[in-house]
């Protein structure tokens, strides 16, 4: 039996609700995007229902502590197809057992989710570290990113608290939405880029006059801080994987 849901968090939670309503035995959860009909397997399309989803979420909140609710949410943001199924099975397991069952790391879904959440948290942390703002001519600090997972919801507060006195935009180029902080609150935005524009680092003419100076100083600093006698490229690449180099001012040529 396969359950098919629309890929939203509410859809996923509704699927859990539907399972308990029907108790169909062993079920796989797949998103519409990933689903391919099989010849001999039955399937059931879950229709997302906010009220059902809320009931399941409230149930999870009763069963799980904050750290596991966060792991749940992070795993969902990973957008990994298998993670959806793990979340589904995990929820069923949690509801079927006494509270505290989430620390049974012997269960496949629990260890899978804790690993998945860890990858998402790592990506979130990397974004907090590797985002480089560029100051544009109108005083807004801009950064374009394309993270492995959908981490914008997770990093929003960090940047809001930290850069409270400057306007900033962080734009997810892969998922085509971004965050804009307007000195009071963070809002979700979409930008329609002109064709051919460099979304990662816009042309220097659009930039603040001081931008080039500080970018150069930062590159200089990065070079000066290196101790040549201790060169260790392997370690360097391990900490700053090459896919992130495009963000980094200090890695620009």
């Amino acid at each position: 039996m396969t359950y098919i849901f629309d890929g939203s968090l509410q859809g996923l939670l509704t699927a859990v609700f539907e399972w308990f309503e029907r108790k169909p035995g062993k079920v796989m959860l797949k998103s519409t995007e990933m689903f391919q009909p099989e010849a001999f397997a039955e399937s059931f399309t879950v229709i997302t229902d906010g009220a059902k989803a809320d009931r399941v979420w409230a149930g999870l909140q009763k069963k799980l502590k904050k750290d596991w609710l966060r792991k749940f949410y992070c795993s969902y943001l990973s957008e990994i197809p298998e993670a959806y199924n793990h979340l589904f099975q995990f929820s069923i397991y949690i509801f079927n057992h006494a509270s505290g069952a989430e620390s049974n790391y012997g269960i496949e879904h629990i260890i899978a989710l804790s690993k998945c959440a860890k990858s998402v948290e790592r990506e979130k942390h990397r974004m907090e570290a590797f985002i480089r703002f560029q100051k544009t001519g109108d005083g807004i600090f801009y950064a374009g990113i394309d993270p492995d997972f959908n981490v914008l919801p997770l990093i929003s507060n960090h940047f809001k608290n930290r850069y409270a006195d400057q306007q900033w935009v962080i734009y997810d180029l892969k998922r085509k939405y971004g965050l804009h902080y307007n000195l009071t609150s963070v809002e979700e935005i979409t930008i329609s880029f002109t064709n051919g524009i460099n979304k990662q680092s816009p042309a220097s003419i659009l930039m603040d006059d001081s931008e080039a100076l500080y970018a150069t100083l930062w590159k200089d600093y990065f070079k000066s801080a290196n101790i040549v006698a201790r060169k260790n490229t392997k370690l360097h690449v391990q900490h700053v994987p090459k896919r992130y180099w495009k963000y980094l001012t200090e890695k620009e040529l």
């Binding site: 620390s103 990065f222 000066s224």
Partner: protein
């Protein structure tokens, strides 16, 4: 103007890079004032240099003019290098603009000693006060305490800095005397002790009075240079242990000496820095702080130096085979933590998971332990029955045979023939 600031930054960042303290953790400053900066309790490494070290702070000297002539230091008086000095405003501008672009987590400010200790400390204080009071900056500040500066200045600086540090430089007094005759450990101990007493005073007051200013919330750290003088690992770690105990230091950094001088008392120019030894010392440091090991268990008169080919935890285990094998399903958390190949996170998961049933090998692997290493020291519910009792040395041979050291290429003890 543009070129001058570039030149200054190059000189003063270059001079500061041998101070390895990089951490930006432990800060508790919140951005309540809608200013700039909010600390992240575990710190953030914003980038890594090509030598693999993290860059989280803008690490600079205020000036590299110095009245001292310490042999191990690039900024020593007798060294023929370019000198420069930042103005207070330049440091403030650099910090603010780097921080705004998310380049850095904060400022690490040190300085050569010009004129005298108080004069230098006053200048450092000017910078941090300007950042905190005028610029409304709440990012991280790591400030060097200048040995010999007056208590009033140090105390005032502590109100604005997140972390303060003074470097021990050499692990023993004798080593320090050899390379820096003008300095001694007592000069370092006095301000370390003073700041520590202030920290405990402030935290004691905090219990009584709610609104009390922060005082060095991220604590103190120090650094020792390794391999410039002939101390043993035991000397180094015993000193480290004493400083952790006596001054509640948050971190001690071990900095492999990078040859910068032709003086005959020190390793010659071109010698490889002792990277592997540095790594083993950090491993020992971690075992002391997070794994419940006593320094005497790892280093003692019988074993004054750490093994180069295996890590100190494994090395302790094969010297103490009487404690093994450990039964994963029944043993104490503390004992599981001592098994080579099991770290803190895995040990915690094991202790939680075994409440639900006996753990098997495949589960242990999934939990994330280094099973190939750990298997010699543990039993779990489906461990194969073993007739033979292996000696520690045999186990070491097994483990070495199937592992490949990442240091083989840079191993400085190995001569290259061709």
């Amino acid at each position: 103007m543009f070129d001058r600031i570039r030149e200054k930054l190059n000189i003063l960042a270059d001079a500061a890079k041998y101070d390895v303290s990089c951490s930006s953790s432990g800060g508790t400053r919140k951005n309540d004032s809608k200013g700039l900066g909010d600390s992240h309790s575990s710190g953030i490494c914003h980038t890594y240099t090509e030598d693999g070290r993290c860059v989280s702070l803008l690490k600079i000297l205020l000036t590299n003019h110095c009245i001292y002539d310490c042999l191990f230091c690039v900024s020593r008086k007798s060294n023929d290098i370019k000198r420069a000095a930042f103005t207070v405003d330049e440091v403030v501008e650099l910090t603010m603009n780097f921080y705004r672009r998310n380049y850095i987590e904060g400022l690490f400010l040190s300085s050569g000693i010009f004129k005298n200790a108080d004069f230098t400390m006053e200048r450092l204080l000017l910078v941090v006060k300007k950042l905190r009071l005028e610029q409304n900056y709440n990012g991280y500040i790591h400030l060097k305490t200048i040995p010999g500066a007056s208590d009033e200045l140090i105390k005032e600086a502590g109100l604005y800095a997140d972390r303060m540090s003074i470097n021990l430089e050499m692990p023993t007094e004798a080593g320090l005397k050899l390379l820096a005759p003008e300095k001694n450990h007592a000069d370092v101990i006095k301000p370390l002790d003073f700041v520590q007493k202030q920290i405990s005073q402030f935290s004691a007051d905090k219990k009584l009075i709610k609104h009390i200013p922060k005082f060095v919330p991220a604590g103190q750290s120090t650094q020792m240079v390794i391999g410039a003088t002939p101390e043993s690992d035991k000397d180094i770690m015993y000193t480290a242990n004493a400083f952790y105990k006596n001054f509640s230091l948050r971190r001690i950094y071990y900095s492999g000496y990078v040859p910068i001088s032709n003086d005959t008392r020190m390793p010659i120019m071109g010698t490889q820095p002792p990277l592997l030894r540095e790594n083993r010392l950090y491993q020992t440091d971690w075992l002391m702080r997070f794994y419940g090991f006593k320094v005497q268990e790892i280093l003692n008169d019988a074993n004054p130096n750490l093994d180069i080919d295996i890590d100190p935890k494994l090395s302790w285990a094969i010297r103490n085979m009487q404690h093994f094998p450990v039964d994963i399903n029944t043993a104490d958390y503390k004992m599981i933590l001592r098994v080579p190949g099991i770290g803190v996170m895995s040990a915690k998961k094991i202790v939680q998971a075994r409440k639900f049933g006996k753990l098997r090998i495949d589960q242990l692997r999934k939990i994330g332990i280094a099973y190939n290493k750990a298997k010699h020291f543990i039993v779990c519910s489906d461990s194969p029955y073993q007739l033979k009792d292996y000696q520690g040395t045999q186990i070491k041979a097994f483990i070495l045979a199937e592992s490949k050291s990442k240091y083989l290429k840079t191993d400085s003890n190995q001569m290259i023939l061709f």
